[in-house]
């Protein structure tokens, strides 16, 4: 690994570092605006991977300090497990060093290239070395390093290494000086941190921007996220060259031993079958397997059945993280609706397992007439660039959002509406459109899965909108009988100078239902709900109402209200308290029992499978109809 070289076509060897210096755009360091963002991103991705792997709740500090007009110091500090001092030169000073390079496992960073690229970029643009402090779990002291990169030989120059006293028990600080341009907006460090905080609700993050402003993203989940398990490589997901390298490094002494021992989902029996189909001597030394034979192995895999890769190698965010993360970051927009997060089961493309999670936020202060906001993630890392090229955008554009109550021109393209779509694609090898990993390649299998997840989420919005529309219609009708017609009566008698007449029979002609009308106001840290039940029919009515708050709970009171012999034209008022913030309360769902559905407006029939324990409801005793 240490002396891996790329070979360019003229046959002259150059080091990877040298290659990078000439082609920095490939890794995303292609503009001064992006450079600072890339440094933060590479460091933070590594920190979060390390914390997850070691089940640590991340405490992160990020600071971008302006040193000169266009020179900045970017510092990222974590409370991760720390790095062994002997590893430091390789981790930070050598491209393509990475513990993950050959492992078959989902992680944020993938190529063991990012953080060294950041150090190298700083070195190229400012001529200054990087500072690293790290303290490994269990070590007595921290170590401080000043380090640069020997470009020709692709290795670190340790300029200084010394022990240091550090109050933190473990963690790592990296500080890089680099030329760049600090910017705000959609593709900025701040946006990256915000979106990272969304998917890491168990992280506490403090950010100091170049003006000295401090932003704190708070931790709202008190448990580490589930780490992904490394599995042996799944044979269908590998390139022939990778199989050759594995064969060369294999500890097995025979081809059958290599196939059954170094890959997942290949048994000894399958390995013998493969050798037979591929025409390989089962006892052949793995290191002697040729490229042609690898290709035969690949085609023989299609003939014998092997199981799909196991799902537990993937690390989803999970419902709780998405729900709490979205609330934590977007609640300041007072959304009217958060959909239940959609989790797809595991699928594969080219033998690589992946899956999709989707969250959705609707309404509130989000603008009605702008394209919906899309926050894209691949393996828990926000994607800020190249949305147009991304599988998420392709999938989104192919869904007909009009059937879910959103505006979309001609039923294609990005829809318009007060909505944020959260899309997370995760897998062992998420395919990207380029080396800088800015957009997910629109592979058909992935696009289809994203589409399916988006449609499930969209259905929940549709349900929400239908309910809201129904509520609106009911409250309009209520306004008609409770306000408009009485006011017409009042006006017509004041103009004519005649006595007002009783209007009950007109009201029952217009409505002829019992109305449930709810209003609520903030009260004692919760809300006070006032439910008015008005009988606009021409007969006395008796029935029961069950209140079901979609969020929050009713305080100190049963959720059942009994209406007995409510006379025509009269109303009865019930009051109760719910422990919920007024600004987010969507209104109570009401159910009824004991009255013909055609005579009641504002409540649904009590479902047959109603959870008796939850509502403390007794048997229906009478039917007044």
């Amino acid at each position: 690994m240490a002396n891996r070289h790329y070979t360019i076509s003229e046959g002259k060897e150059i080091s990877i570092s040298e290659f990078f210096e000439k082609n920095r755009h490939i890794l995303g360091f292609d503009s001064p605006q992006k450079a600072l963002y890339m440094i933060v991103k590479e460091a933070l991705d590594n920190s979060l991977d390390a914390c997850e792997e070691h089940q640590i709740l991340p405490e992160i500090r990020v600071a971008v300090k302006r040193m000169e007009q266009d020179e900045f110091e970017v510092t990222v500090e974590d409370n991760g497990p720390g790095i062994d001092r002997k590893e430091v030169p390789r981790v930070f000073g050598q491209l393509l060093y990475g513990s993950r390079f050959h492992s078959f496992k989902q992680s944020r960073g993938q190529q063991g290239i990012g953080i060294t690229a950041a150090v190298l970029y700083g070195q190229i643009t400012t001529g200054k070395e990087a500072f690293i402090r790290t303290r490994k779990v269990g070590e007595e002291v921290a170590y401080d390093f000043k380090l640069s990169i020997n470009i020709k030989e692709n290795r670190a120059n340790i300029i200084e290494e010394k022990p240091a006293i550090w109050e933190e028990q473990h963690g790592t600080i990296i500080s890089v000086l680099a030329k760049g341009k600090y910017q705000v907006g959609k593709q900025s460090i701040f946006e990256y941190l915000k979106e990272t905080a969304t998917v890491n609700p168990n992280m506490s993050l403090r950010f100091e921007d170049p003006e000295g402003k401090i932003f704190q993203f708070k931790r709202v989940v008190e448990r580490p996220s589930e780490p992904a398990r490394a599995i042996k490589p799944y044979p269908l997901g590998l390139e022939p060259g990778e199989v050759i390298s594995m064969a060369h490094e294999s500890g097995a002494s025979t081809a059958v031993g290599f196939l059954s021992g170094d890959f997942s989902r290949i048994s000894k029996y399958s390995a013998e079958e493969i050798c037979k189909f591929a025409g390989i001597d089962p006892d052949k030394k793995p290191s002697e397997i040729t490229l042609a034979e690898v290709k035969n192995i690949r085609s023989s895999l299609d003939k014998i059945k092997i199981l799909p890769p196991s799902a537990d190698c993937l690390s989803p965010l999970g419902e709780e993280f998405i729900r709490k993360g979205l609330r934590n970051i977007y609640d300041e927009l007072h959304p009217a609706f958060y959909s239940k997060p959609v989790m797809r089961s595991v699928s594969t493309y080219n033998g690589n397992p992946f899956s999709v999670e989707v969250g959705l936020v609707y309404g509130g202060d989000l603008p009605n007439d702008e394209p919906v906001r899309v926050v894209r993630y691949a393996n828990k890392v926000p994607l800020l660039y190249q949305p147009g090229a991304c599988a998420t955008t392709k999938a989104l554009s192919e869904v007909d959002w009009r059937s879910y109550g959103l505006d979309q021109r001609n039923g294609e393209g990005v829809p318009f509406g007060p909505m944020i779509l959260f899309i997370h694609v995760f897998g062992i090898r998420v395919p990207y459109t380029s080396e800088s990993k800015e957009a997910i390649a629109p592979v058909a299998e992935i696009t289809e899965e994203i589409k399916a997840a988006l449609k499930s989420a969209a259905r929940t919005v549709k349900g929400f909108l239908n309910k809201r529309e129904k509520r609106k219609k009911i409250s309009e009708k209520f306004r008609l009988v409770s306000t408009l017609i009485p006011e017409i009566s009042e006006k017509s008698s004041s103009i004519t100078g005649l006595e007002t007449v009783p209007i009950e029979s007109v009201l029952s002609k217009v409505a002829n239902v019992v109305f449930l009308n709810e209003s609520f106001e903030p009260s004692d840290g919760g809300i006070l709900v006032r439910l008015i039940v008005h009988n606009y029919t021409s007969m006395p009515r008796s029935f029961d109402i069950i209140a079901d708050p979609p969020i929050g709970d009713i305080v100190d009171q049963k959720n059942e209200f009994n209406v007995r012999d409510l006379m025509p034209a009269l109303s009865v008022t019930f009051e109760f308290r719910i422990a919920v913030e007024a600004s987010r309360y969507p209104g109570t769902d009401y159910y009824f029992r004991g009255i013909d559905p055609v005579y009641i407006n504002g409540a649904e029939p009590l479902p047959a499978d109603w959870n008796i324990a939850k509502t403390d409801v007794e048997e229906v005793t009478e039917d007044v109809q």
């Binding site: 306004r479 008609l480 408009l484 017409i488 017509s492 008698s493 103009i495 007449v501 002609k509």
Partner: protein, 365 residues
């Protein structure tokens, strides 16, 4: 057109009483009136103008929209009755602002309250002036040898000659041009020329067209106000002056002509007071654009839609308009009156208008 009828108040109270009576007998209140859209205008053979037909709309208090409509009309009736009592008038805009205080009867837009005032005219067969409501847009201006007497604020009639007693801006047509406010004394002219745009009106004034061609020039100011159309009607009826309408060549100008000659859709209930069926169109036509090779603009989407709508408008169902509208759609171009200046400032008065005025009657009527 009626002067203020003492019955106005009575008629409005009656309308409120019909609502009251419904409630009293346990019926859901309703207001019924002619439908006021393009599909419900018919030619009135007696006056040769277009009026509302038989089709009716019903606003019922059974629905929120209908109940709001009835409530708003009651508030408006109450407001008008108060004005009658206090001998006040208000502009439509003032009424719109006053409606802010009308609880559930307030209007969302001034358009809505203006239309409601027209609806009340239609329902009661009364006029806006009877309701003591006036538009804030004043009528446009007149220049020519016409003598009128206008009642001033002191209540005295003051004599004005629209050639000698006015400046270059002309005589300003007041919002009420009925007999009790404005008397037409005499005129010495052969015809009236109604002009769409101010620029062209000024050009004709500067070129002395009114004197050279013994005419009265009326500036329409775009779509003409009721009072402007009413004055044209009176000049035609009382002074027997033919009316010629000189406009731009675009779909909106065709509508200006239609409202002068046939009656506007919005005011079809009073077309017989406003429309001059014998008015003649001498505005820019598609043929003029070709014959004079005038500078043009391309039709916008809205222009095209308007022309398409005109093809379905009963007022435009004759050969002249059909061929002109289709020709304009085909060439996809429109032109302004002032495009005639391509051939010099005097071209319009020396050549275009004399040709048009002496030529065959385009309308073939």
């Amino acid at each position: 057109m009626s002067s203020e009828v003492p019955d106005t108040g009575k008629k409005l109270v009656e309308l409120a009483r019909s609502v009251y009576n419904s409630l009293k007998t346990g019926e859901v209140p309703e207001l019924i009136m002619p439908s006021r859209n393009r599909d419900n205008i018919v030619l009135d053979p007696m006056y040769s103008v277009w009026r509302y037909g038989e089709s009716k709309v019903t606003r019922s208090a059974k629905y929120v929209d209908g109940a709001e409509y009835i409530l708003k009309s009651l508030y408006m009736i109450e407001f008008i009755l108060e004005m009658i009592k206090g001998s006040k008038t208000s502009t439509l805009r003032e009424m719109y602002y006053i409606s802010e205080g009308w609880k559930n009867g307030k209007f969302g837009t001034q358009d809505e309250s203006d239309i409601m005032a027209e609806d009340l005219e239609v329902i009661t067969s009364l006029m806006r002036e009877d309701f003591r409501l006036r538009p804030e847009e004043n009528g446009a201006s007149v220049i020519g040898n016409l003598t009128i007497e206008e009642k001033n604020r002191k209540g005295e009639f003051k004599r004005i000659n629209c050639k000698d007693d006015v400046g270059e801006g002309g005589y300003n047509i007041p919002y009420n041009v009925d007999q009790e406010k404005l008397k037409i004394v005499s005129s010495d002219a052969d015809f009236v020329l109604a002009i769409e745009t101010g620029g062209m009106f000024d050009r004709l004034v500067e070129n002395g067209f009114d004197e050279r061609f013994r005419s009265i020039l009326v500036h329409l100011k775009g779509q003409p106000a009721r009072s402007t159309r009413r004055l044209l009607k009176r000049l035609n009826e009382e002074q027997h002056l033919p009316i010629y309408v000189f406009t731009d060549g675009d779909p909106w100008s065709f509508r200006i002509f239609a409202s002068v000659a046939y009656g506007a859709i919005k005011t079809a209930h009073i077309s017989q007071h406003l429309a001059v069926p014998t008015a003649q169109f001498i505005g820019i036509t598609a043929s003029d654009i070709m014959n004079y090779d005038l500078p043009t603009d391309v039709l916008t989407d809205k222009d095209q839609q308007a022309l398409q709508a005109e093809l379905k408008d009963p007022r435009f169902l004759n050969d002249f308009w059909k061929s002109e509208i289709e020709a304009m759609l085909k060439m996809n171009k429109k032109a302004e009156q002032q495009a005639l200046a391509k051939y010099g400032l005097d071209f319009v008065t020396d050549k275009y208008l004399p040709d048009k005025l002496s030529g065959p009657n385009d309308l073939g009527e």
